[in-house]
Symmetry: C2
């Protein structure tokens, strides 16, 4: 199998770079936190109780038409590398790879739908769509939620809604987030201002793997802070409306840079292209930044003949677990840096159309 | 006319990257300082005397078969840009472009032979050959010297030889120099040691335009310090022998880098290639350094499909006067940086064979 084929098999739908506003928005995600009635939250539950959660959710999952063909996988049965792979694909949280004894995951083939069992809550449903589609993600998440609700009684308070381990999730139990590429706002030094402004309307901007993680390649996650006192639809509409404003600002910033100093922007973008397609050793961090520059060049039509989806794919494929999976063996960082550079060069080489 | 054609017309023979040891040695140059008997050195001569030098040397030049077809050019008649062009081609010294009233230059079509009139001395003959050919340069210089000597009486002391304005040139009046590319010794931090060692055997290592000039692109000039008490042949043989040792050391340093960390070297070289072929803005200094890296890559057979002569040409073509000549108008530095990047990309693009 060629590298290209192996890679395309490893790719999730959301990485393919399609979907509305895909020149700026990478993906839309909705997750719902749910807990089973009468069982303590995973952090405080005993082994028997955690086991019960696994048994009950496994049974419920098997009866969901939406999960047809998807395996219910115990994390203990998954090699460490495979767990890391799921993190890099944003299908499970980094936290879900630790203390795995009673943790499980269900991932639908297209990876648009996944469930974490016994993470912070008993159940965390996630729907992940390419581009700006939070409503679609919410609808899918809602349907799987209803499917489980019809089989398993949830912990709900009539006053405040769904009960969750962490009070920040109480109410709807929903976190909707948009992964968004904001290179021009970053170049224009506008992100600090934007993060503050967004905080004042109840949203939060974070790094690429969520809370507490680093911003890489000018990719940010915008998500709702408030889960209580609003309906899910209201939360989605609010996030959508603010995201549209941010998209507008990013577009304006791009136009401004183009007007003010096109050649300097081109210089930056093409230098990044030159390094990506020629370097022999490359760290993950450098690669993310260069990919961001080149992606901007494509989206601003300064670079032609390079598909944006190649860069979208690379954003995931260059991460440590994906690289090791691709190469078929474990690698230390220096070897990974060489393989990463090789993979990027190989993938960005012009290929004859099939 | 295409850029490629214009450029090839602007090129001197020595820039074409041929000649012995041309993977390391760029060019070999010999110059002889001579003064006319009974006339003070240019620095102290009166206007009438300088005029006399011009008249006499013009007449003598016209009678040299070696200079058939070459024009005798008064510097005053040459636009400032053209003067600078001759400096960048190493045909005249930077000093020769100032106070030009009674200065002149003769340049043979192939640029292998040139004469400065009323620089520091009345006559400075120069022969310039590609690669390591100081003996050939000396032979040519000697022949033109004999041609002039048969017509014009030189200032000579029977005890010490030719008299010159600066005592450091007295005796043979000869300065033989080798322009040499030493990237591996530079990377290995060996240049300081080498410069000291070379000084102890009566040679001197300088930057690209001679005394007091900066080292650019890892290109050095090695020349004799001593002009007195040795024959010209001895000076040439000594320079040749020391240069061969330096070439050996550079080759060893290249092999060592290759053995110790090939991929790191490749990374450096290919990153430079990527920047050269993609940047939109480039300073002269950056370009020289990147060209040096890529040239090393070609000479070490790490890069294929790129002719070394293209880089040799670019080393000269990217300098300010050449750039402006090529573009047909004067340019400020920011515009030059853009044109320089354009020229480099254009020239390094793979062209179909004619």
């Amino acid at each position: 199998m060629s590298l290209r084929e192996i890679m395309s098999k490893t790719l999730s739908e959301w990485m393919k770079g399609t979907g509305p506003e895909s020149d700026i928005v990478i993906s839309s995600r909705v997750r719902l936190a749910r807990n089973l009635e009468g069982i303590p939250f995973p952090g405080v539950a005993g082994e028997e109780q955690l086991k019960t959660v696994v048994e009950k959710t496994k049974e419920a999952a098997a009866r969901q038409p939406l999960l047809a063909g998807a395996d219910y996988i115990r994390l203990v049965e998954l090699p460490v590398l495979e767990r890391q792979l799921l993190v890099e694909k944003h299908l499970i949280s980094p936290q879900h790879t630790k203390d795995v004894k009673y943790k499980a995951v269900v991932v639908r083939d297209d990876e648009a739908l996944s469930i974490m069992v016994n993470e912070e809550d008993h159940l965390r449903f996630q729907a992940l769509y390419p581009g700006l589609q939070p409503e679609e993600a919410w609808r899918l998440c809602s349907r799987i939620d209803e499917g489980f609700a019809s089989l398993l009684p949830y912990a709900v308070s009539p006053d405040i809604g769904y009960l969750t381990a962490c009070p920040t999730n109480v109410g709807t139990g929903m976190r909707a987030s948009i992964m968004i590429h904001l290179p021009a706002l970053t170049m224009a030094d506008q992100m600090k201002r934007l993060i503050n402004a967004v905080a004042q309307v109840g949203l939060v901007v974070r790094g690429i793997y969520g809370e507490g993680t680093e911003v890489l390649g000018n990719i940010f996650q915008i998500s709702n802070q408030v889960t209580l006192g609003r309906t899910e639809d209201e939360i989605i509409q609010h996030l959508l409306s603010i995201t549209r404003q941010i998209i507008d600002q990013e577009r304006q910033a791009r136009r401004r840079i183009l007007q003010q100093n096109k050649v300097r922007l081109e210089d930056k973008i093409f230098r990044s292209l030159g390094l990506l397609t020629n370097a022999r050793i490359m760290s993950s961090q450098e690669a993310m930044q260069l990919i961001s520059d080149v992606r901007l060049g494509i989206d601003m039509k300064l670079i032609s003949g390079l598909e944006p989806r190649i860069l979208q794919e690379l954003l995931v494929m260059i991460r440590p677990a994906h690289l090791q999976k691709l190469m078929g063996h474990e690698m230390e960082a220096p070897e990974r840096d060489i393989m990463r550079a090789t993979l990027i060069r190989e993938r960005m080489k012009p290929h004859p159309a099939k």
